[in-house]
């Protein structure tokens, strides 16, 4: 590719982010899509692949005697610190990467060149995996109160809205069009979620163009129609997710918010979520705290607090809780908007849906939710995630905040979600990676123009195909606490720092043992045991037959028996504790893959790192579960168990 000035540099050092003394030496390759670092240590074939589209910034630092440092920050919070010995090479890599990581047109994006080994028919089916209409009909729509409106076919009324929208039965096209003219970018009030049990609905729109005194009859009729679609309620909430000051400031620009006097029976409410610029700066500050190499307790806690990040997460969650309670407990419909209705509005609607409806807490349901509230309603993914070169002021971690809100809820309700943390992190990664077409472009219309469905693959079916990796072993769909409305706590100590995402690549910082991995191993094992059970049952019946046979023709049967038993033997061996998941059925007992390997973190090699004995960098938590051979020679308590496991470890 023409942008690669230098395809390969040898003798490059990759520094560990925590401890700069730990470094790996290898070769750096630039390809059209990835930066690849291959460790050249004998015996290890350790490769680090980084997608160009995930690169957020490339910085060349001042040269040092040991070489020229190149710092790569990624959108998935990976930070790579290379040292390239020759400055010229570093310069070339720097320039190449800068160009490669900032595609100038959509066509350069990875999704258009990503070609897994899937035939065209399957690829098409990938896109049929999620069907939003099915979700609406799951909600009981269309119904006598809500109808599918064709008004935005061909994106004539609002070019950032989806083509298919649900509106109140009584909303006629003139009312909709009139209302859309009174709303920023024509984003008129449309249905986001409908609770068929009590008819309460969550609708979303952009801000009204009310200025200081403007009114619009159709818009007032539109809200009236929404109110009337909920026969049980005599008022509705209008939630403006902005801080009041921001909304007032918008009035000077001819925009603003609804005047309670002009609309019949609305209760108007600000919830005070800050705008995309505040969020961008806040995350930046938080990431700086994450990157501190050995922060003191006050650096960390005060830095985290002053970044305001958790406060913003709380604000989003609070708004979601307000709406969810209005719908579930009061049975009142809610109209939500912010300025344009594609950032805060998407966040808040989604959080409310997750709290309200257990369906959105399942794997498929959560995908549907993102597809609905974010992809189809025109969250500007390509701008917010900087998929292509553009205005840096448009970039903001709005989707990160949604994922984090859900993660915080998962921490509070460990049994309520079918999916696990890894699922959220994978989605986060691919929102930015551009490997799949789902998040390319800023709205449905753009995606159609880009022919995304014809040219790319879908993340959702990829996730679904690998769903075993993303399943939460603790999930209890039938449990009363996981049903219905989740009553989340928003006290300050309920919000945790999400190290799993923000320090995702700092392996030294990860939990020594993960309960989740452990439980997953147990579930897998349970499955294997079930299989084993049936195979045993079969074996017994075989043996019974054999018995009969052997009664008749005695000696002959025995010689064959070892082969007949072979699987059984393996089972016997495999059942030693150290590899109870590894090889039950296919049993190769010498390679235990059981809890030991799962619970022992990947960074086992770090144990031997002599640097720790100086005790100087405990910040990274270098040491892991280390191991030692059995206590003494005569400790025969567990004859079989330990040795294999430890030597393997």
């Amino acid at each position: 590719m023409e942008h690669i000035r230098l395809p390969k540099v040898e003798n490059v050092k990759l520094l560990d982010r925590i401890s700069h003394r730990r470094r790996r030496v290898g070769t750096l390759y630039l390809t059209a899509t990835h930066t690849i670092f291959v460790e050249s240590e004998a015996g290890v074939r350790n490769e680090t692949w980084v997608l160009h589209s995930l690169v957020c910034s490339v910085d060349k630092l001042a040269a040092t005697p040991s070489g020229c440092p190149l710092l790569i920050h990624c959108k998935n919070f990976q930070v790579l610190h290379f040292i390239i010995s020759k400055e010229q090479e570093c310069h070339d890599i720097h320039l190449s990467l800068q160009r490669l990581s900032q595609p100038e047109s959509y066509d350069e994006l990875y999704c258009f060149s990503y070609k897994p080994n899937v035939d065209e028919k399957e690829r098409r089916q990938e896109w049929d995996f999620l069907d939003l209409k099915a979700d609406y009909s799951r909600m009981g729509l269309p119904s006598s109160l809500w109808k599918l409106s064709p008004v935005n076919q061909h994106y004539k009324v609002s070019d950032t809205y989806p083509a298919d929208l649900f509106v109140p039965e009584s909303a006629t096209p003139p009312v909709i069009v009139g209302s859309s003219k009174f709303r920023s970018r024509g984003r008129f009030p449309a249905l986001s979620y409908y609770c068929k049990d009590n008819h309460a609905a969550i609708c979303r729109s952009s801000q009204p163009l009310s200025g200081f005194s403007a009114r619009c009859l159709e818009d007032e009729q539109m809200l009236e129609a929404i109110l009337r679609s909920n026969p049980c309620s005599d008022f509705m909430y209008v939630v403006d997710t902005r801080p009041k000051l921001n909304a007032i400031a918008n009035r000077a620009a001819g925009k603003g918010y609804e005047n309670e006097d002009n609309y019949s029976n609305i209760k108007f409410q600000f919830v005070g979520i800050e705008n995309i610029h505040v969020m961008r700066n806040s995350q930046q500050k938080m990431l700086e705290v994450c990157e501190l190499r050995s922060p003191s307790m006050s650096d960390f806690l005060e830095g985290l607090e002053s970044s305001g990040w958790l406060k913003h997460i709380k604000a989003v969650l609070d708004a979601g809780i307000f709406i969810a309670k209005a719908v579930a407990e009061e049975g009142v419909s809610v109209l939500v908007h912010c300025s344009d209705g594609w950032d805060r509005t998407s966040q808040v609607c989604s959080v409310a849906c997750v709290l309200l409806d257990p369906y959105y807490r399942t794997l498929r349901g959560f995908m549907v939710l993102i597809e609905k509230d974010w992809v189809s309603f025109g969250h500007k993914f390509s701008h917010r995630c900087k998929h292509v070169v553009g205005d840096p002021k448009e970039v903001s971690p709005i989707i990160d905040q949604l994922l984090e809100c859900v993660w915080q809820l998962m921490e509070q309700f460990p049994c309520a979600f079918e999916f696990n943390e890894r699922f959220l992190i994978t989605i986060h990664n691919h929102v930015y990676s551009c490997q799949f077409g789902n998040f390319i472009g800023n709205n449905q219309r753009e995606r159609i123009e880009l022919r995304v469905h014809e040219r790319t693959h879908s993340l959702w079916s990829y996730l679904w195909a690998n769903r075993t990796d993303y399943t939460n072993p603790l999930y209890r769909p039938n449990h009363s606490q996981t049903q219905g409305l989740l009553r989340a706590s928003t006290s300050p100590y309920s919000f945790k720092f999400w190290k799993g995402l923000y320090n995702r690549f700092d392996h030294g910082m990860h939990p020594r043992q993960s309960v989740e991995d452990y439980l997953r191993a147990i579930q897998e094992e349970t499955q294997q045991l079930e299989e084993q059970l049936s195979s045993h049952t079969q074996k017994i019946s075989e043996l019974e037959q054999e018995q009969e046979c052997s009664d008749s023709c005695k000696a002959a049967a025995f010689d064959k028996s070892p082969t007949v038993w072979a699987p059984g033997n393996n089972l016997g061996l495999a059942n030693t504790p150290q590899d109870y998941t590894g090889g039950f059925i296919t049993g190769s007992p010498c390679q235990p893959k059981g809890p030991d390997s799962i619970l022992l973190p990947k960074s086992m090699n770090q144990i031997s790192d002599a640097s720790f004995s100086n005790g100087s960098d405990q910040e990274s938590g270098i040491a892991d579960l280390s191991c030692r051979s059995p206590l003494s020679e005569d400790s025969t308590r567990d004859p079989d168990s330990d040795e294999a496991a430890y030597s393997a470890a």
Partner: protein, 645 residues
């Protein structure tokens, strides 16, 4: 100890009164009904991140079956007296100012063991059950002229409780809180601590859990380098040390006495733990009496050399002084100090920068202000930071980690001391032993660890906690042991499958640290406990715990006995122990019974495993019977499968 059987618990739900109290007043009918569906005590505490406000009234826990029965019958939702517990006073129309739900009127009963408050004010019953041992201070609030008299109870477990009642018309009659004061501070009033009266009998005798000789034997002591000495049999060498000590083989008892003269309070270096392979040891002692003139002791130097020589793997010895170096130097003025590397060849001295008991007391006091009763939303993290509590936890864990690493990876023996060697030293040795030796991560092993490193080696529980003593400003009080348990909790968070016990176990230990129901934490040293005949006259906490192990067992436990735990002491890994410090706050309600789910998953696996085993055995039997005459059958005897529940 606030409990409220709310509306529905009055009816039939057995366990709801075991639930954490006030929160039931607030909301969530869904979660409540669910919780009350699980009748068994272990499920009452549950949940992983948040948990265990469960119920902290020992009488219910001690006799779970009885109480469960009693509570089912709503009329008997009354105070259940323990053996030898007697009612001392009762008062009607007392107001309890609950910081979470507001004022409640009800009846107060004071016994020689507890304060019991019950209110039927609201549509639900509210109960508060507080062992008097928890009370640190009772103060009368307001002036005598007002019609109401108000009392504040400052508790050792981060609570402050406020009560008020009408001015007594009969001026001769004492307020119930005056009565309470008498029984809350029995030591100051010449009364016996309740532990001496409590006569409950448990199936197991917890006093037998620890036997010094068998614990040393488990470690392989005596061996060619270490011997057990009887020199302290009558506590003559050191009255704060246990009678059984392990010392290097080639140092005769006479020399030990000379070493004792050079160590503060005679606390000579003795063995705490020995590495089964490398023979590297963890030894503990007090500071050397170096003084301003830099005094030396040949015997002490020889003694440390002997400790080093007992480990052939290394020609070095690490001395960990838990204090900040400034404090250690300041101690020279008082005759103490630290080992100079000139005098002790091959020894390397490391300061671990852990602060003294006064700093820790102040830190916990600040923490209490931040978490109780209400938490300020806007500055939670910086307020938490300002207490420095997590910073202290971090330093202690980091110190223990360095010790464990030296012993395990460096194969080097270490000597640990602080000033007197009974606070920070106990924290460090016991935490590093917990990391090094999986035995201590079992329930019984942990009990042994506490009995050995804390109780027998003379952590001054009586002084640090102030059992039954009204002198709440005593500068000897300090949360050293709480800090240790907090550190253990942090370890269990990082290694959820490495500990046999659960969070409830740790909370229970801390609750009974104060309750004075059991004799375990009474007195300051082994000698005192012997003199007071504590094992004869009181019940051990371990009797109670070991009689219902299931409640305290971690379902995820895997016996990693031969693994060494090296925790990450990074700040990102340390958390405030919400389940202990903020458990009184109804906003911190257990969200989901996650333990329950763990158990289900594990039980299903175990069940299947059992069936597979049975079938396997059957397969084996059948094949054995059909192949009886074939020698050397390939069928390997079935290895018993380890199940983890």
């Amino acid at each position: 100890m606030e409990k409220s059987g709310s509306v529905d618990s009055l009816g039939s739900k057995r366990s709801s009164s075991r639930q954490p109290s006030v929160d039931s007043l607030s909301s969530t009918s869904t979660s409540r009904s669910d919780r009350s569906a699980q009748a068994k005590p272990p499920s009452a505490m549950s949940s992983d991140s948040v948990s265990t406000s469960a119920e902290f009234s020992p009488e219910l826990r001690v006799k779970p079956k009885i109480s469960a029965k009693a509570i089912r019958d709503s009329d008997k939702e009354e105070l259940q007296l323990l053996p030898n517990e007697t009612v001392q006073d009762m008062a009607q129309d007392v107001t309890y100012f609950c910081p979470f739900t507001g004022a409640l009127r009800g009846t107060v009963t004071v016994t020689n063991y507890r304060l019991f408050f019950k209110s039927m004010d609201r549509d639900s019953t509210f109960m508060l059950d507080l062992p008097l041992g928890v009370v640190s201070r009772v103060e009368r609030i307001g002036n005598a002229s007002s019609r109401d008299v108000s009392y504040g109870l400052v508790c050792k477990d981060v609570r402050n409780l406020r009560f008020a009642h009408k001015q007594m018309e009969d001026t001769l009659r004492k307020s119930i809180f005056e009565v309470l004061m008498k029984f809350a501070f029995p030591v100051s009033n010449g009364l016996p601590i309740f532990a001496f009266e409590y006569g409950q009998v448990f199936p197991e005798n917890g006093w037998k859990v620890y036997d010094a000789l068998s614990e040393y034997k488990r470690q392989g002591i005596p061996n060619e380098s270490w011997r057990i000495t009887k020199v302290n049999d009558h506590y003559e060498l050191c009255d704060t040390y246990p009678s059984t000590l392990a010392v290097p083989v080639n140092i005769p008892d006479e020399e030990l006495k000379r070493v004792a003269a050079f160590r503060a309070k005679g606390r000579i270096p003795v063995l705490s733990w020995i590495h089964p392979e490398s023979q590297a040891t963890v030894t503990r002692c007090s500071q050397p009496m170096v003084g301003v003139n830099g005094k030396r002791s040949k015997e002490d130097e020889k003694y440390l050399q002997a400790i080093m020589d007992a480990n052939a793997q290394s020609h070095k010895l690490f001395i960990f002084d838990a204090r900040p170096s400034v404090n250690a130097a300041a101690n020279k003025m008082k005759g103490g100090g630290y080992e100079s590397e000139d005098a002790y060849q091959n020894a390397e001295l490391v300061f671990l920068d852990i602060h003294n008991i006064h700093v820790m007391r102040e830190s916990l006091r600040k923490l209490k202000e931040v978490v109780y009763p209400n938490i300020e939303d806007s500055h939670w993290l910086s307020n938490l930071e300002s207490t420095h509590w997590l910073e202290h936890i971090k330093l202690i864990l980091a110190g223990a980690l360095r010790i464990a690493d030296k012993v395990e990876s460096g194969k080097t023996s270490v000597v640990v001391h602080c000033s007197d060697g009974w606070d920070r030293t106990a924290q460090l040795t016991s935490l590093s032993m917990l990391m090094l030796d999986g035995y201590y991560r079992t329930i019984r092993g942990f009990e042994v660890l506490l009995e050995k490193e804390w109780l027998s080696f003379g952590h001054r529980f009586q002084l640090r906690i102030g059992h039954g003593d009204k002198n709440h400003t005593d500068a000897d009080r300090s949360p050293v042991f709480i800090q240790f348990i907090d550190c253990v909790w942090q370890l269990t968070r990082q290694f959820p499958a490495a500990f046999e016990f659960n969070e409830y176990f740790l909370v229970t230990i801390l609750d009974h640290l104060y309750s004075c129901l059991f004799g375990t934490f009474l007195c300051n040293s082994e000698q005192q406990r012997l003199k007071e005949e504590i094992p004869k006259r009181t019940v051990s906490l371990w009797s109670y715990i070991n009689s219902q192990l299931e409640d305290f067992t971690n379902p995820l436990y895997v016996n990693y006995s031969n693994h060494v735990l090296f925790p990450a002491v990074s700040l990102r890994h340390l958390e405030l122990w919400v389940g202990y410090y903020i458990r009184w706050n109804p906003r911190m309600r257990p969200q989901e019974p996650i333990h329950q789910r763990y158990k289900e998953l594990l039980a299903k696996r175990a069940e299947l495993q059992k069936r597979v085993d049975e079938l396997q055995r059957e397969v084996a039997n059948r094949s054995a019977s059909s192949a009886s005459e074939r020698p050397g059958s390939p069928t390997r005897s079935i290895t018993p499968v380890q199940t983890f529940v």
